[in-house]
Symmetry: C4
Subunit: 252 residues, 4 copies
């Protein structure tokens, strides 16, 4: 198989990419859960203040993590993003090299990393329950529609900003997530790996295990809709790479 | 008509541009109204805290949306900005290609997108009233002067930053709006499409339908003053494109 | 006089530069005072929350204004910065073109713009007293030392960041001021024009007229110390322009 | 010794680098302690609000300081970062020029600068006790694990972002620290020089002198783990400099 051979020859290597995805997702989940614990402990019952701290910590950390791991794995940290990358690299897609084996590896690394991050957050805050299930009910049509919108927007930002301003994508993604924490009723999980990990914390950021599956379905639906829409939307727009190539420059 | 022909040939195509304007404005309005609902629900009556969350969510999302849709439609999301672009492209203007038909299409897409965004926000938060009228009184000379100042500043930022630092315009616009939420008494609507959409929500971000028209007049007045002033202010300054062309570089 | 002739020939023209300095300082002062009024009105007596809103609004607006007016006048908005620029352009200085007449014009525009901005803020918030004197006592050694440190840091940021990363200076200055609002006991006025304007508002951001002069003295002392230190500190480091010129690029 | 000779010839000179490291660390510590004092005084007992202000002030100032002093000394401000740089420059390392004498000088400048910054913060806020010891207990496994994670992440950001996006490293570091203030139970000291300085303030940001040593050990452990991991992770990825050189560009 040509793709399997390319996978063996690729740089950064597969092992490095999987470690980057897993570690990045672990730190992201640790940031989401950890800042939620800290915020809830300090906020004295004021949920708006707790969510504001949770928002700023999550958005800021996310920008830093994408800039840190982007050069190794692309910094997906999110199965929906990996799925969209894989679809875009199919023969009928917009190009690139992203075989199925790589996509499967990314998703497994993200899921494992997410659980590791939840454990790390609990250890840092000396929470008694390690990976105990959350009892935080998050269900209903409004919540699911929120997740679909949140993930639609996330994939839109990655595709749209990544097309012409790839240098700005880390900032755009972090700012978008910070905004979506407030403008969606579900506080914008928008990420199946993070959703699963958050089922295993009985703290501020938790979600009942029973509520995970519909969240993931809504996230996939929203993400795939955005991917389809942006394939059309960007079809006649030159990419930043193409524009730079035409003028003899290589974007760093 | 030459301009009508160019319109047919242009890339990105007209349809793509209108979808980008409509969708971007919808997400912007959803962010403004949705984060207002979330903030009011959680803030326990502390309006400063609610407005701070609303500010951060709006500014952050706005930067992300401009970076996302800027490569397709220019990311106006605002009839005043479209009007100023159209005026700048008139034969007596500072150049560019922006025919009247395109401007009309942009404004219609923005107005429709704004209403769609208000509906989306209500659906995400399961608000009982869909597109019910706001009863939030926002009127009087101080409010109107605030809107004129807010829109003057917005067009100033777009023109001034866009002239020499177009890469930084998305960030500058988002930061400006975040600031103007606090330094104007009207919390800086600065956008007729967003103002109209906010008339249809009985929540934190609403405005009485009767108060929309004077807001829009003030916005147009402020925006046009800034456009006139910056035509003179920038008349003898090379644009970033010209400076880059002179040194053989093409900005991405 | 050669310098007077150059002044007549320069682009952007003197008139444009003075309007940019005056208007930019007016909008900056309107942002400082206006967001202070809004914050105090909404915060229900919680001064930390009011100052946080005031901080975010000021820092965000400042970044946007520097990006907006920087291409025309350099966006000083501050007599200390203009003084430092003028000193740097003296024959013994680090080069550039900044004659005394230009510096005097800048400072006058800044002072006038500051008062205009205070008036605009009062009009936007329908404050009864236009340009009434503040009664907010800000005096004593700790306050003066704070102003010296604040302005030392501001000039350090402008000189240090401007030397190698001029593209990032607008962001660095805004972030620095946001930080200094909290880490100096005086909330970091760091600007004689803004200090004078803030003497004319009986609101959150005010300062007693009697307290202005020592603040300005401390600001000059801090700013000049930083200018002297950075002349030495950067003496053997190539500027970004020089580095770019050596590689055939012209920074935009 | 060749390295000693190079040290004498290097630009910026050793003296300039040490002043930059000392002054930058002083301003950083003044920001951390000063904003903590201001926040505690104003927050009326709401610790979440105080920490949020402390976070925003610290993160914002840190970005500005790295941009300001980066061109002179590299803006380490942190013995762990200097240690990692020195290890990376060993013959077995990833290259660069960073002799032991330089590293020792950096660390001494950072330690001295930190104490100076603590004194400056106390002077600005007229705190009665100059360099009095803190009584703020920060100990136990959860705290130490937090410091290890915090410093692991900090070195990861510096290495990962610095490898391919060195222009974005100042922003990434400031955002990371802002996030880590909330997602680690120790509020992320992540810096032995800052930790030592914070032992000498009986205010919000303090740490008992007895608790400093285990914090420093945890920071060293976390930082060295990240350095080792990223040496492997980035081993087959071209640096930004290499990519730019291949295309004939020199990054500024």
């Amino acid at each position: 198989m040509l793709r399997a051979r390319l996978l063996r020859l690729m740089r950064p290597s597969l092992a490095r990419r999987l470690v980057a995805e897993g570690l990045g997702t672990a730190l992201l989940v640790a940031a989401v859960i950890g800042s939620g614990i800290m915020a809830e402990r300090l906020a004295g019952g004021n949920v708006a203040l707790a969510l504001l701290a949770n928002t700023i910590a999550t958005g800021a950390t996310l920008v830093a993590l994408i800039l840190t791991f982007g050069g190794v794995s692309g910094a997906h940290f999110n199965p929906v993003v990996t799925l969209v990358e894989w679809l875009g690299a199919l023969p009928s897609g917009s190009g690139g090299f992203f075989p199925l084996a790589l996509a499967v590896g990314y998703v497994m690394a993200q899921l494992a990393g997410g659980l590791l991050g939840a454990m790390a957050a609990h250890a840092m805050f000396a929470e008694p329950a390690w990976l105990a299930a959350s009892t935080h009910l998050r269900a209903g049509g409004a919540q699911w529609f929120s997740e679909a919108v949140a993930t639609f927007g996330l994939v839109a930002v990655i595709r749209g900003c990544g097309h012409r301003r790839p240098d700005a994508t880390p900032l755009a993604v972090g700012l978008y997530i910070a905004g979506a924490y407030w403008f969606t009723a579900s506080t914008s999980f928008a990420n199946p790996a993070v959703t699963l990990a958050r089922a295993f914390t009985p703290t501020f950021a938790g979600i009942r295990p029973a509520d995970v599956a519909p969240f993931v379905v809504a996230q996939l639906a929203g993400g795939l809709m955005a991917a389809a829409l942006f394939r059309w939307l960007l079809a006649d727009t030159a990419t930043a790479s193409a524009a730079a190539a035409a003028s003899g420059q290589e974007p760093v």
